[in-house]
């Protein structure tokens, strides 16, 4: 399946770098990875979507779910994305008001969060 997931640490944030296609067929792996991070006590998460070629509504749903989970622990989940084809789906669903979307992992890591 054409989805890549890579986890690293950055200034107290867990960085989940996603690549490839996030659709209803691949999204269960993204959901599991987010749940695992939260279960491991990582409540400040940067999801880096810059290498994502495709993101559908189920991808949005899982990110909203992840945000709710970390907030339940007073945490934060922020996004990195510069590609308009991906940011567009956040815009048209009004989720740009819900997620902080940064231009780079650096910018995200130094954000208030």
């Amino acid at each position: 399946m054409n989805l890549g997931l890579d986890v690293s640490d950055r200034d107290g944030w867990a960085v989940l770098a996603v690549s490839g296609e996030v659709d209803v067929a691949t999204v269960p792996r993204l959901r599991e990875e987010l749940h695992r991070l939260v279960a491991d006590g990582k409540h400040r998460i940067i999801v880096d979507l810059d290498k994502v070629d495709f993101l559908d509504s189920t991808g949005l749903g899982v990110l909203v779910g992840g945000l709710k989970r970390v907030r339940a622990h007073d945490g934060e989940l922020v996004l990195v994305c510069t590609q308009s084809r991906v940011t567009k789906v956040f815009e048209v669903t009004g989720l740009t008001k819900v997620f902080a979307i940064h231009d780079s992992v650096d910018a995200a890591a130094s954000s208030g969060g």
């Binding site: 659709d23 067929a25 495709f54 084809r85 567009k88 669903t93 009004g94």
Partner: protein, 144 residues
């Protein structure tokens, strides 16, 4: 009417990527499409296909889902045709605005709003024996 490319896929989520590949290739032959309009349209088509697969599941329908692409003078049109239970007119009417507050509380339900916003035009034809969703990408529209 223009030439038709038609693909049939098994009603399984694994085949959505293939359906997208086909639609993007077919639309690419009939472009150019400005900016990321084709990428946006791809999301709309994918959402319609996802709903079609889910509709087949609801009624244990193993038959294929058909995706037909037609290039017209003024538009490129993709029809996603399923043999699911049909789409309740009420569902379409009750659809909250994409960015309305009802959306953000839920983890699902972003599909139809994305279809409406990312295709230039959408028509639903539905009966108890299935649904056809017609998605339009207009030529000469420079949005996006």
């Amino acid at each position: 009417m223009g030439e038709v490319v038609r693909v049939e896929i098994p009603p399984r989520l694994e085949y959505l990527a293939l359906a997208r590949t086909l639609v993007v290739a077919a639309a690419g032959m009939h472009g150019p499409w400005s900016g990321h309009r084709l990428a946006d349209f791809e999301v709309a088509v994918s959402e319609a296909c996802t709903n079609a697969v889910e509709a087949h599941r609801l009624v244990d329908q193993d038959g294929p889902i058909a995706i037909a692409c037609v290039s017209h003078a003024d538009r490129f049109e993709v029809s996603v045709i399923d043999r699911g239970p049909g789409l309740d007119a009420q569902v379409l009417r009750d659809l909250p605005a994409p960015s309305g507050p009802a959306r953000q509380g839920r983890e699902g339900g972003f599909g139809l709003p994305l279809i409406r916003r990312l295709a230039d035009e959408v028509r639903f034809e539905s009966s108890p024996s299935g649904t056809a969703v017609h998605l339009v990408l207009r030529r000469g529209d420079t949005r996006g």
